[in-house]
């Protein structure tokens, strides 16, 4: 019994002291991502991009001659105290030099990490996060958003839907979104945009995560027979089941999935079955053919490493790490946080496709060299057909009328 007690004590002490045991001449990078819970899939996508960047820097001799050391934190399901705990652990306790995150709390993170000075990169895509930032831009000057807000992404989706060379049989639209901050932000903006354009929003449905039985909603949709159905649910099982149940008796509708097309399981499961679906990825690397040789090399490397094409967020967070590393090199000291933040704000970062520039709200707004990519599933793969803003066709790729639309 005493041996057992000793073993338990020793294990506990190891776990307590483990982080300090690696306190060599390294630069710590905090990575708070969902490692458990319902956001694990998105967390893994982000982790792939962050890991790729950190490994690349380390293989190239490190940053300022020091290797980067990752300190991970499980954000679980982003309860307020967990987000706060992540900030206190990474910035306060582990004294990381920077925090690289993906989704990280939709505004809660701005408050939690804004207490510190370490550069914090996240992919909230949230107007609420921007509103918090605007309360005190000086205090929150270390917060850098890697994607535009849900409102602007929704406007971009709307512009592309209107630009599609698709003849509609009526002006009716059905919008289905989740009941979380992202879903309602996009859903509300889409409703507003369609109404402004004179469309009839025949049905707006807000559903909780976990909805997989679509019978009653699809019955109403079939009765409406809309020209466009927009589904905004960033979770794979819901959108896969919706698509399969829709396809049992499809209406002559363009099926727009917005960001819902991003979870990797959607394409892995549906493959060619999903041909015709359209969706978007903010701060996405357009493909399959990247815009230039440098970007193509990045895509090739990613595919070689992970065996699949880059999913939403991977490239954004990769660029976040690189933007920070670039600023550290320019400042010459990873601990001069305020100078590093100032450098990022003023100079941005030149990445594979061009300039990443943070605006006065410290948000990389869609457009320029980092537009929103709008995709269609063609022959089982995501093909970028438009970039926005401004709305323009991408490369030689063309929109194809979905196979279920019979005119």
């Amino acid at each position: 019994m005493r041996k057992l007690q000793f073993a338990v004590f020793a294990l506990a002490m190891c776990l307590i002291t483990a982080p300090g045991a690696f306190a060599a001449d390294t630069i710590k990078v905090g990575v708070p991502l969902a490692m458990t819970g319902s956001y694990t899939g998105a967390g893994e996508n982000y982790w792939q991009g962050i890991k790729m960047a950190i490994d690349e820097i380390n293989e190239g001799g490190g940053l300022l001659g020091k290797q980067l050391e990752v300190v991970r934190f499980d954000s679980k399901e982003y309860a307020p105290e967990v987000v706060m705990q992540g900030a206190d652990y990474l910035c306060g306790q582990m004294k990381v030099a920077s925090v690289q995150a993906g989704w990280s709390g939709w505004g809660q993170d701005v408050r939690a990490y804004g207490k510190y000075d370490q550069p914090f990169f996240c992919d909230d895509g949230s107007e609420a996060a921007v509103q918090v930032f605007r309360e005190d831009p000086e205090k929150y000057g270390n917060i850098f958003q890697l994607t535009d807000t849900g409102i602007n992404q929704a406007k971009s989706m709307f512009r592309v839907l209107m630009a599609l060379p698709q003849k509609h049989h009526n002006n009716k639209v059905v919008i289905i979104n989740t009941d979380d901050a992202w879903g309602t932000e996009v859903g509300d903006t889409m409703v507003e945009s369609f109404k402004e354009k004179g469309w009839d929003v025949a049905k707006r449905e807000t559903v909780p995560y976990g909805t997989i039985e679509w019978g009653p909603i699809l019955t109403q949709i079939r009765k409406i027979d809309p020209a466009i159905i927009h589904v905004e649910i960033p979770s794979s099982q819901e959108v896969i089941t919706f698509f399969r149940q829709f396809m049992k008796a499809p209406t002559n509708s363009v099926l727009s999935y917005g960001w819902s097309i991003v979870p990797r399981e959607v394409m892995d499961t549906l493959g060619k079955e999903a041909d015709g679906l359209i969706g978007e990825m903010p701060t996405a690397m357009p493909g399959p053919k990247a815009p230039n040789a440098k970007a193509q090399a990045w895509v090739d490397k990613f595919e070689k490493l992970y065996g699949h094409s880059p999913q939403g967020g991977s490239w954004a967070v990769y660029s976040g790490v690189m933007a920070w590393a670039n600023a550290v090199k320019a400042v010459g000291d990873e601990t001069k946080f305020k100078e590093i933040n100032k450098y990022i704000q003023e100079h941005g970062y030149v990445g594979e496709t061009g300039l990443w520039k943070w605006d006065a709200d410290n948000v990389v707004r869609a457009g320029g060299d980092v537009p929103v990519g709008h995709y269609q599933v063609q022959n089982g793969q995501l093909v970028c057909i438009y970039t926005d803003p401004p709305t323009k066709p991408y490369a030689d790729y063309k929109y194809q009328t979905p196979p279920w639309i019979k005119n």
Binding site: L15, Q131, E135, D179
Partner: protein, 328 residues
């Protein structure tokens, strides 16, 4: 367990916890965990009173916690009422809510009470996120991101300054724990236990089941609402993500670890569970797996939780004590 022994365990434990900021006061992360331990200790204790002592399978404790947090935050944020008052109002609100939930539960037996109370938990998310919640000022899906801190005697207590907030939480936790201890060891507590063991027999002795069951709902939901409100003003932001199953399961683990119906086991359970959970955090996806295995092992090896272990050690020590061995 006698109330003196319960009070002694609590006194020793809280005395140790009370001096911890002297050593870790400058470590924000550790201080934050200590504050959360104190908050969860109260919630777990309330759950223990209703489930462990009164034998009512209520699964609504997290819902009362969140309802209290939102009530206080909305009043303070939208109506600018000082948080000291909104916390008390939130307690009263959840107390009334507890009675309303308790009323239908009085006509139901074990698993059905669990279903009704868990139903309350489940309806809270769409209520707060939906149009009704937005109209009430819940912030909808985004939640509330600017909750004012507690102001008391000219002092501001917030997450910016953790040591003062720790001692404020510490005082509130001790008061709540003392109230729970008094209830458990009073006639009310005896009535709860009697109703739990045999409702028919207790009723035949004059114990009013209706009155006491309703009372336990009101008291536990009042205290849970107060500490929930406290949590909201501490963290400064709220979202319905607190209603995810992660927190619910963690609270349940606290009860199992501490020992169900083994007060003050729930307090110890809260501290142990939160600490182990944090120690296992670097293991990522293996954390819930290990936690689950630990709970399964604990249930098999220590069915009465850590309090059962302490009691066993205590009786072993007394047996080995030469002074307690009767001379022949």
């Amino acid at each position: 367990m006698s109330w003196k022994r319960m009070a002694a365990i609590m006194a020793v434990f809280y005395a140790v916890v009370g001096i911890l900021p002297l050593f870790v006061g400058d470590m924000r992360f550790v201080m934050h965990i200590l504050i959360m331990c104190l908050i969860w200790a109260v919630v777990a204790s309330c759950w223990d009173v209703i489930m462990g002592f009164a034998g009512i399978f209520s699964f609504g404790q997290v819902a009362f916690f969140v309802a209290g947090a939102y009530c206080s935050a909305m009043l303070a944020y939208h109506l600018h009422i000082p948080p000291v008052w909104t916390i008390l109002i939130a307690g009263c609100f959840t107390g009334v809510l507890g009675v309303l939930v308790g009323l239908p539960c009085l006509k139901l037996a074990g698993p059905y009470v669990a279903l009704v109370t868990f139903g309350v938990h489940m309806t809270l998310t769409p209520l707060l996120r939906g149009k009704i919640g937005i109209a009430m000022g819940s912030g909808g899906a985004t939640g509330l991101l600017t909750i004012p801190p507690i102001q008391l005697f000219g002092w501001t207590f917030s997450s910016e300054h953790l040591v003062p907030f720790f001692y404020l939480t510490f005082a509130v936790t001790i008061i709540c724990s003392a109230i729970i201890l008094i209830i458990i060891k009073s006639f009310w507590g005896t009535a709860f236990l009697a109703l739990k063991d045999s409702e028919e027999f207790a009723t035949s002795l004059g114990v009013n089941a209706f009155k006491y069951k309703l009372m336990v709902f009101a008291i536990t939901s009042f205290i849970t609402g107060v500490i929930g409100a406290f949590y909201g003003h501490y963290v400064g932001m709220l979202s319905t993500r607190m209603l995810n199953l992660d927190l619910f399961c963690t609270l349940m683990v606290m009860l199992v670890v501490g020992g169900i119906g083994q007060f003050p086991g729930a307090i110890l359970g809260a501290f142990i569970t939160v600490t182990v959970n944090e120690l296992l955090a670097p293991l990522g996806m293996y954390r819930p797996l290990i936690m689950g295995a630990l709970v399964a092992a604990l249930v098999l090896l220590l069915p009465e939780g850590v309090i059962g272990l302490i009691r066993s050690i205590g009786s072993m020590w007394r047996q080995n004590d030469p002074q307690t061995i009767p001379s022949s």
